[in-house]
Amino acid sequence: MNPFREDLVSRSRPEPCSIVIFGATGDLTHRKLIPALYNLAVDGELPTGVKIIGFARREKSDAEFRAGLDELNRKVSRSGHDDEIWDSFIQTVSYHTSEFTDPDGYRRLAEKLDAIDAERGGKGNRLFYIASAPEFFDEILIALKNAGLNEAKPGCWARVIVEKPFGTDLATAKHLNQVVNDTFHESDTYRIDHYLGKETAQNLMVLRFANSIFEPLWNSKYISHIQITCAENLGMEGGRGGYYEKSGALRDMVQNHLLQLLSLVAMEPPTDLSADGVRDEKVKVIRSLRQWDTREKVAKNVVRAQYTAGHIDGTAVPGYRQEDRVSPTSETEAYVAVRLLIDTWRWSGVPFYIRMGKRLPKKSTEISVHFKDAPCVLFNALSGGVPGGNVLVIRIQPDEGISLRMVSKIPGTSLRLEPVKMDFHYSTSFGKGSPEAYERLLLDAIAGDATLFARRDEVEEAWKFIDHIERAWHESDSPPVMAEFVAGSWGPKEADELLQQDGNAWRRL
């Protein structure tokens, strides 16, 4: 116990450690991980004595590696680039050249880590961040085990952070989980989903459980339905088509990010804020999803689509099948809409709709909670009724905030009603920018707090749900149709019909 930590920082104790990043020459390391660690240093949150080792195949010297990091940090760092702090920080960063499968490379890494530990009297904590291409995950984990690097020294810890995608289906996820758990204890495994590190996602629990006005209404008695939208206006720029062709919208976004958001919205209050307290409740939601386990159920509850050529922001954009590195006969969905039902007492009969699409009109991720209409008396009995029910919108990105739509009387002698909006914007209420998701998540992993990381059962339950849909699409004799929509529109008409069958409509963003 550290008596001086009381009240200064609420999280667990982040101890000095060696951080080894696999895939150190990649975009994630340069654009996200190193700037996040640097910003932690700027905020004084990075423990003194942390050492960072970049592990990758390309031949580089420490100086070359540092120069590349310096160049990009100047462009992307949230808090700017303070030369003095950077110079101090970058001295802790070194580069290690090795193939991911080369035992000698891991032996040399172990020697390097032991040398760092020797300075500290032989003790040292280790955090391995696997940010390489997913096909190397297995090999890296096995090589770490073979080199004995998975075992913590007495009184120390060894942890691993695994980037998404965590498998490509239930079988591969189970396999990867097995490899991970054969190498590291589950309690030392941190499956990262950066959506959970976003300020608004973290605020979801606060909104629900720290405000007494919402929770009594948060159930099937008062809520008509809930929509979760992740809209992107980008397509397959920068060669993303190659990756996307193998994943598609469902596996790329729904299986992880959007189901995680769903579980935060729908979960029961946890017994405490411990990692397992929160994750126990989240996994119950995913486990309670009604399974779309036949082709007919998938056809009725899921819509997949590709975009055709269109315009976004006045610029002509190609159709999905004409995109770079995309097959002209591709059967990969660039848009997906799913109707979900959660078979719990709280959510019985309340549909949840998730949609994710590329080349939609704008970039926006939000959760909207649509409340039931007021009883059909008084104002509802007037001609025209009440214009729309109450909607609580939680904006995840951009323009993070919360708004509530309600009905108000238009000033005047006659009784006319209009919807009005109460709006809260993080940026106007709290001028200070939020930390990047990776900053929070990296610090949590160093401190041993797994609350914002996915647990094995969460990942596998999510894949179980997704696999049924993938099978209906790709293994059925008569798969559900691939719908189309014009790039720059809000998706295919089939997605609109998905909600119309329940008497609902997508929220206009």
């Binding site: 550290n2 008596p3 001086f4 930590r5 009381e6 009240d7 200064l8 920082v9 104790r13 982040p14 101890e15 000095p16 240093a41 700027v42 905020d43 004084g44 949150e45 990075l46 423990p47 003194t48 004595g49 942390v50 303070d82 003095e84 702090i85 101090s88 920080f89 300075e119 500290r120 009297g121 003790k123 009184g155 323009d399 914007h425 940026s427 106007t428 209420s429 709290f430 001028g431 200070k432």
Partner: protein, 377 residues
């Protein structure tokens, strides 16, 4: 934004209609009816109506407020200085600002008021504005002051009361009862022991009152630096055997140094002790801990805090003129250090930090009795 006369004042990224004063120490009685810093003078009875007009003139703005921030000063020229501070503060902390300038030595009781709004672009798009009401009171003011402030608070929002300078009898029980957060700077007090007695009385009158002391905030990076260094198992192992604490401070910031010592003692469970060399601490298992306090008039409020054990030392230092604090842990054959930003020094930055952190400030309350004990040593 148009060039209307109601008093909107934009941040540097957009045009504003009134010229800024280059020198902000005008005496209070010289404040004109239309003042670039304070806005336009309005009759006190119609302040809210005039503020409302301000918003009606332009619909491209958002009126934002998370709190009522009252800034109280009896210093001549403080209204204009504080308006400049509020302009900066409102970039990150949306509030209704109520500035109060008092001249109690004027025999004639008067009350004047000005209104304006500080506007900044949010995300380079939306203009977000915060209202400011400035009051200048002369003569005997206690009751008038309190009622004037009460009448212009935004309902339901917390009241942050920033008291500048020495405390006075105006800090009455009735005033304290409505304050959520009282911001003070104990370093500016001539007799801290007596003033902290008033603070104790205020806390008794309003048990929910949160005290935020600039003197305490100035030591933030030092305290978080020490806390962070003791996360290291090497430093943790040394904790029971600590035998010396050395602290170097600027003479004007003795309170900050004593508060840090009190914090260390309270958190580590050290008792007070007296030795031949003066006062000292004693660990929970009887180990003597010597104290060395040194002044450095050329340095920052705190320039060094060193905690020593036989083999290990933990230190946080800030060199004069440096923009960074260095943390260091050293033991036989091993030394690790890192840099972090320095604590702010300007009142506006200190208040901004205090507003950002929120919370109950319970550690300050916990440390306070021990600190008051050190004050009279």
């Amino acid at each position: 934004m148009g060039t209307h006369g109601a008093g909107f004042e934009m941040g540097e990224s957009t045009p504003y209609f009134l010229p800024k004063l280059s020198h902000m120490t005008a005496p209070l009685d010289s404040i004109p009816a239309i003042c670039p810093e304070l806005g336009i003078e309005v009759p006190v009875a119609i302040i809210e109506r005039e503020l409302h007009k301000l918003w009606e003139q332009d619909d491209a703005t958002t009126n934002a407020s998370l709190m009522n921030l009252v800034v109280y000063s009896e210093k001549a020229g403080a209204l204009i200085e504080n308006s400049a501070i509020i302009r900066e503060l409102t970039r990150e902390h949306a509030c209704r600002a109520i500035l109060v300038g008092i001249d109690r030595h004027e025999p004639e009781p008067t009350l004047r008021a000005w209104i304006t709004a500080h506007c900044h672009l949010a995300d380079g798009r939306k203009s977000v504005c915060c209202e400011q009401i400035a009051f200048h009171l002369t003569g005997r003011v206690t009751g008038r002051f309190r009622n004037t402030v009460f009448a212009h608070l935004n309902s339901d929002l917390p009241l942050i009361f920033w008291w500048q300078g020495e405390l006075s009898e105006i800090l009455t029980e009735r005033l304290v009862s409505v304050i959520d957060r009282l911001v003070i700077d104990s370093s500016s007090w001539a007799d801290p022991a007596a003033s902290f007695t008033m603070i104790e009385e205020a806390s008794q009158a309003n048990p929910d009152l949160i005290i935020q002391d600039h003197a305490w905030t100035r030591s933030w990076q030092f305290r978080i630096g020490i806390a962070s260094l003791f996360d290291d198992p090497i430093a943790q192992e040394a904790l029971p055997e600590i035998h010396a604490v050395e602290i170097t401070y600027h003479p004007a910031h003795r309170n900050t140094a004593l508060q840090v010592l009190a914090w260390l003692a309270v958190q580590a469970g050290w008792k007070d002790a007296v030795t031949d060399a003066g006062w000292a601490f004693e660990s929970s298992h009887g180990k003597a801990i010597s104290l060395k306090l040194s002044e450095d008039a050329s340095g920052p409020p705190l320039s060094s805090l060193v905690i020593r054990e036989n083999r290990t030392s933990v230190q946080v230092t800030q060199k004069a003129g440096s923009s960074h604090v260095e943390r260091q842990v050293e033991t036989a054959g091993y030394k690790a250090s890192s840099l972090s930003p320095i604590d702010p020094t300007s009142p506006a930055d200190l208040v901004a930090i205090q507003l950002s952190r929120g919370g109950k400030n319970s550690l300050y309350q916990k440390m306070l009795p021990r600190f008051r004990g050190l004050l009279v040593k």
